[in-house]
C-alpha cells in the first residue's frame, strides 16, 4: 500500500536553531500515526511544515505518491489536509454552522439554511453529534473540539492532524474522542496524533514515531510488545521511571481551614456552596472533579481573588475572610494558577521580571522604591539555575519560552516565597514528561518541608499518585474527603459524578 502522505528528509531551521533535522515520516490510509515528543522537540514545527504554515528549508512532501509544494494552510486544506489546533480557532459569538462555513464561502450571499442542512448531514455521517444552530459559546470544550474536527472534515480533509487533542478534555470526553477517531479511521481518514501522554497514545495509535531534539529517534510498529517506560525513555533520551516516590509522613497542624465557605463568580452567581475542608502542614490534598465544577472559583476564594459571600477562610488560625490577594500572599499563600498565560505570567515582560511579580517591592530587590539591579540579577540567576529554567537569557520575554519552562518560572518564584499553603492548579497541564516529573518533585519537596498543599487537577492519575487525602468537588459542593489508601478510581469517579456517600469512594 502506498502512503497518503510521505515526508522525506525535511529540515527546518530558525536562525541557527535546527527545529527539524532531516525528518522522514509517512502516513498510510486509515492509520493513526502518533507523533511523540517533549515540548520543543519539533512536533509542531513539522506539522506546520505539512500544513503549509512554514516552508521547509530542505526535503520533499509527497501526497499519494506525487510531490507537492504546500504554500499555505489554504492550499493544504485544498489538498485534503486538515489541522485541529490545541487552542480552538472558533468564534464564540457565532453558531456552529457559521463557524464551519466561515472562510469557505465563495459567493457573496450566504445560504445558512442550506449550510446547516449539509452540516447536519455531515455530523450524522461521521457521528460527530453537534447542533448546527447552537452558539459555540454555549458548548463544552469536548463539543467545541467536535466542531473543529467536523469543520476540517466538512472541507474534505482526508488527512487529519490533531495537535494535543486530549490536553483540555475530561476522561469521559477522551473516551468519546477516541471512539470518534476509530470510526474515522474505518472511513479511511488518516490521522496524525500529536501528544506526550503515553498511555493514551498506546491505546489509540497504530504506530508511534518518536521525536527528540528535531530528529526522529524511533518508529514503533509493534505496540503490543512495548511498555510506557521504554517509550518515555526514548522520548526523553535517558532512563525514566514513571511514578513518584512519596514517603510516609505525619501531617502537622491545620494550615487551611474552610468553614462552610461560599463564593460567587464574577457574574455574581453562587458557585461554591458551604464548602468545608481542612489541610494540614506536610499534607497534599488533591481536589478531584470534572472541569468546571467550581474548582476555579474555590481557588480564587482561597487566594482572595474572589470575595467569600458566606462562611470563613482561616489560615493558620487567622481569619482571612474579606482580605485582599496581597494579604493572602503575605499570610503565606502561594498560588500556581490554572492558566499560566493569563494569570501566571506577563508574557511580554522578561523572564527576570516575571520571577519577581510578587516580591518586587521587597528588600533587597527594592530600596526606597528604586529597583536594585544587582540583587535582582543575582536572585534571578540563582532561581534560573535551581529550577532549571532554560532560556537563551534572562532578558528574553517569558512568552518566548516553552510551556515547561514557563511553568518553572511560576513554580520557582512561588516556592521561593516559602508558602505555608500552596494552591497548585493543574500544575502539569500541557507539560512533557521531564517538566511534569520536575513539578511533582517540587511539590513533594514542599510537602516534606511542611507546606500544606491543595492540588487541583482533572487528571485522576496525578491526584491519586501525589495526594494524602482526596476531596471531590461536584457542582461547587464538597462530596467527601477520602484518605489516599482507601481511595479507588471507581469510587472517586462516582463522587465526581455527584453520587454522595463515602461508601461510594471506598467501595471496591
Amino acid at each position: 500500500m502506498e502512503p497518503v502522505l510521505r515526508v522525506h528528509n525535511i529540515t527546518k531551521r530558525f536562525g541557527s536553531n535546527v527545529a527539524n533535522d532531516h525528518i522522514s515520516f509517512d502516513l498510510y490510509p486509515g492509520e493513526i500515526h502518533a507523533l511523540l515528543g517533549e515540548n520543543g522537540a519539533g512536533k509542531s514545527t513539522l506539522m506546520n511544515v505539512i500544513y503549509g504554515v512554514y516552508g521547509a528549508d530542505e526535503g520533499e512532501i509527497y501526497l499519494n505518491g506525487k510531490p507537492v509544494e504546500i504554500s499555505s494552510p489554504k492550499h493544504a486544506i485544498e489538498l485534503g489536509i486538515g489541522m485541529v489546533h490545541q487552542h480552538f480557532m472558533l468564534i464564540p459569538a457565532f453558531t456552529v454552522a457559521e463557524n464551519i462555513v466561515l472562510g469557505m464561502q465563495k459567493e457573496l450571499r450566504l445560504d445558512i439554511k442550506d449550510a446547516e442542512a449539509k452540516i447536519a448531514a455531515a455530523s450524522e455521517k461521521y457521528d460527530l453529534r453537534v447542533d448546527p444552530h447552537a452558539l459555540v459559546s454555549t458548548l463544552s470544550v469536548g463539543e467545541q473540539q467536535r466542531v473543529e474536527i467536523l469543520k476540517v472534515l466538512f472541507r474534505g480533509a482526508k488527512i487529519l492532524i490533531l495537535d494535543e487533542p486530549t490536553a483540555v478534555l475530561t476522561p469521559q470526553e477522551i473516551t468519546e474522542l477516541f471512539a470518534t477517531l476509530e470510526r474515522l479511521k474505518k472511513d479511511g481518514v488518516s490521522i496524525v496524533f500529536i501528544s506526550h501522554k503515553l498511555n493514551e497514545l498506546m491505546s489509540i495509535s497504530d504506530r508511534i514515531s518518536i521525536l527528540r531534539r528535531g530528529k526522529i529517534t524511533g518508529c514503533i510498529d509493534d505496540l503490543a510488545n512495548c511498555n510506557p517506560e521504554a517509550l518515555a525513555s526514548a522520548m526523553v533520551g535517558r532512563q525514566v521511571t514513571l511514578g513518584v516516590e512519596k514517603p510516609e509522613q505525619e501531617a502537622g497542624e491545620v494550615v487551611l481551614e474552610l468553614d462552610h465557605l461560599s463564593v460567587c463568580n464574577e457574574a455574581k452567581k453562587e458557585i461554591i456552596k458551604e464548602f468545608s475542608l481542612q489541610i494540614r502542614a506536610g499534607e497534599i490534598v488533591g481536589l478531584a472533579g470534572v472541569d468546571g465544577n467550581g474548582q476555579s472559583e474555590l481557588v480564587k476564594g482561597i487566594t482572595g481573588l474572589l470575595p467569600a459571600t458566606g462562611g470563613a477562610i482561616r489560615i493558620q488560625g487567622v481569619d482571612m475572610t474579606g482580605k485582599t490577594p496581597r494579604e493572602f500572599i503575605d499570610a503565606g499563600v502561594g498560588h500556581i494558577p490554572e492558566d499560566r498565560h493569563k494569570q501566571g505570567l506577563v508574557l511580554s515582560m522578561s523572564v527576570k521580571e516575571n520571577l519577581f511579580l510578587e516580591t518586587i517591592q521587597d528588600r533587597p530587590y527594592t530600596k526606597r522604591h528604586l529597583l536594585q539591579k544587582k540583587a535582582i540579577q543575582e536572585k534571578a540567576k540563582s532561581l534560573q539555575e535551581f529550577y532549571d529554567i532554560r532560556a537563551a537569557s534572562l532578558e528574553v520575554p517569558a512568552g518566548a519560552l516553552s510551556g515547561g519552562n514557563q511553568q518553572k518560572i511560576i513554580v520557582g518564584r512561588i516556592l521561593e516565597q516559602d508558602p505555608k499553603l500552596l494552591v497548585a492548579v493543574h500544575p502539569t497541564r500541557g507539560l512533557d514528561i521531564g517538566a511534569t516529573e520536575f513539578v511533582h518533585k517540587c511539590l513533594l519537596k514542599a510537602r516534606a518541608e511542611g507546606c500544606a498543599i491543595l492540588l487541583v487537577s482533572t487528571e485522576l492519575d496525578e491526584i491519586l499518585e501525589l495526594s494524602d487525602q482526596i476531596a471531590v468537588i461536584y457542582e461547587g459542593e464538597c462530596m467527601g474527603v477520602v484518605r489516599d489508601r482507601d481511595a479507588t478510581k471507581e469510587g472517586i469517579g462516582l463522587l465526581m459524578a455527584g453520587v454522595k456517600g463515602t461508601q461510594a469512594a471506598t467501595a471496591s
Partner: protein, 361 residues
C-alpha cells in the same frame, strides 16, 4: 548584536523610511502644484531650526506636546485608551489661569507651583471620570473620554464668554494672569520659557519611575496583563487609577504651560487639537519617554517651520497635517509588521556573495 539593540535599530530604520515616504508624498504634491519641493523643504527646515527665534519657537511649540504625549503614553502603556487629552488640557489651563488671575500678592515661587498644581488636579480629576467608569463599571474609556472632551472644551469656552470674561474686552478672553504666575524666558529673542525645562525634567522623571522603580514595574505589569498582576498581589485598580490620573494631570500641565509660559491669558479655542496631537506624539514616540521627547520636538519643529514655509513659499501650513498623518500611519504600519531590516540587508549581502562565488567557481 543583542535582541533589544537590534529591535531598536530596526525601529529607527522604520522611522527614517516613514519620514522619507512622507516627504516623498508631499514632494509629489508640491511638484504637481508647481512649487519647487527642495526649496520648500529648505524653508521648512530653516523655519524650524535656523536662528534663535525659530529654534525657540520650535521648542516652545514642542513643550505641550511632550508633556501631554507623556501622559498619553503612560495611559496607553497601562491599557487605558485615554483620548480625552483635549478636555483635560482645557480644564487644566482654565484652572491655572483662574488661579493665576485671582490669587494676588503671592511670590512667584509659590504662585507658579500653585497654578501648575491646580491644572494637574483639574486635568487629573477630569481623566478620573472615564477612568473610574472603566474600572468599576466597565464602560469603554475611549468613548467616555472623547465625549468628555466636548463637555470640557465647551465649558471653558462658556466660562470665557461669561463669568471669567475680561470686562470690556472685545474677544471672549480671560483677564491677564498676575506677573507672579508668568514663567521666565530662557532664550532671548524667543518666547521659550522654563516650561520647556520642566518638560525635560518630567521626561527624565517618567523614565526613572517607569523603568527603575517598583511602582513603574507594577504599572508595566498591570498594563501588559492585569489579571496576572492581580493574581500576583498587585492592586490592579490602584495602579490603573494612578495611571489615568497622572495622564490627565500631564495633559493639564500641557495646557497651563501654554498660558503661563507665553499666552498669559486664555482665549476661546486657545490650543485647538493639541489634545489629539499628543496622541500622535505618543504613538510616534513608541510610547517611550525618550521617543515622546523626540517626537514632540519633531512635531513642534514641523509646526514652527511650516509657518515660515508658508510666508516664504506660499505653501499652506495645512500640509503639515498630511506629513503628520503619513508619518504616523507608516510608523504604526512598520512597527506592526515588525520587519527585521538588519536581517534583510544582511540577507542581500549574503546572496550577492554566494552569487559571485558561484560565478567564480
Amino acid at each position: 548584536m543583542n535582541k533589544r539593540a537590534r529591535a531598536m535599530v530596526n525601529y529607527l530604520i522604520s522611522i527614517v523610511i516613514a519620514l522619507l515616504l512622507a516627504f516623498a508624498i508631499i514632494g509629489a504634491l508640491l511638484l504637481w502644484q508647481g512649487v519647487d519641493p527642495v526649496e520648500t523643504f529648505m524653508a521648512l527646515f530653516q523655519g524650524a531650526f535656523i536662528g534663535k527665534s525659530n529654534l525657540g519657537a520650535s521648542l516652545l511649540l514642542a513643550t505641550p506636546l511632550i508633556l501631554g504625549g507623556l501622559g498619553i503614553a503612560l495611559s496607553f502603556r497601562c491599557g487605558i485608551f485615554n483620548i480625552g487629552g483635549e478636555g483635560q488640557l482645557y480644564l487644566g489651563a482654565f484652572a491655572a489661569t483662574w488661579l493665576g488671575v485671582n490669587l494676588v500678592g503671592l511670590p512667584f515661587w509659590l504662585h507658579i507651583p500653585i497654578c501648575f498644581l491646580g491644572s494637574m488636579i483639574f486635568g487629573g480629576l477630569w481623566a478620573l471620570i472615564p477612568g473610574y467608569l472603566k474600572i468599576s463599571k466597565g464602560y469603554n474609556e475611549t468613548v467616555t473620554s472623547v465625549l468628555l472632551n466636548y463637555v470640557g472644551v465647551y465649558f471653558v469656552n462658556y466660562a470665557l464668554s461669561s463669568f471669567f470674561k475680561e470686562p470690556g474686552a472685545l474677544n471672549h478672553q480671560s483677564p491677564k494672569i498676575q506677573t507672579s504666575a508668568m514663567l521666565s524666558k530662557i532664550m532671548s529673542g524667543s518666547e521659550l520659557n522654563t516650561s520647556f525645562l520642566m518638560a525635560l525634567l518630567i521626561v527624565a522623571l517618567f523614565f526613572l519611575i517607569f523603568y527603575k522603580t517598583d511602582v513603574g514595574f507594577k504599572l508595566r505589569a498591570v498594563g501588559q496583563n492585569a489579571e496576572a498582576s492581580r493574581t500576583s498581589g498587585i492592586h490592579t485598580r490602584k495602579y490603573l487609577l494612578l495611571a489615568i490620573i497622572v495622564s490627565g494631570a500631564l495633559s493639564g500641565l500641557a495646557g497651563s504651560a501654554q498660558v503661563m509660559g507665553y499666552q498669559h491669558l486664555m482665549v476661546q479655542n486657545f490650543s485647538p487639537n493639541t489634545g489629539y496631537d499628543i496622541i500622535a506624539v505618543a504613538l510616534m514616540g513608541n510610547l517611550h519617554p525618550i521617543g515622546v521627547l523626540i517626537a514632540g520636538i519633531f512635531l513642534g519643529a514641523l509646526r514652527s517651520g511650516a509657518s515660515v514655509m508658508q510666508i516664504m513659499m506660499g505653501v499652506p501650513v495645512t500640509i503639515l497635517y498630511i506629513i503628520q498623518g503619513v508619518i504616523i500611519l507608516s510608523i504604526l504600519g512598520f512597527s506592526r509588521a515588525n520587519i527585521d531590516f538588519i536581517g534583510l540587508v544582511g540577507g542581500l549581502f549574503r546572496k550577492k556573495e554566494s552569487q559571485s562565488m558561484a560565478k567564480e567557481a
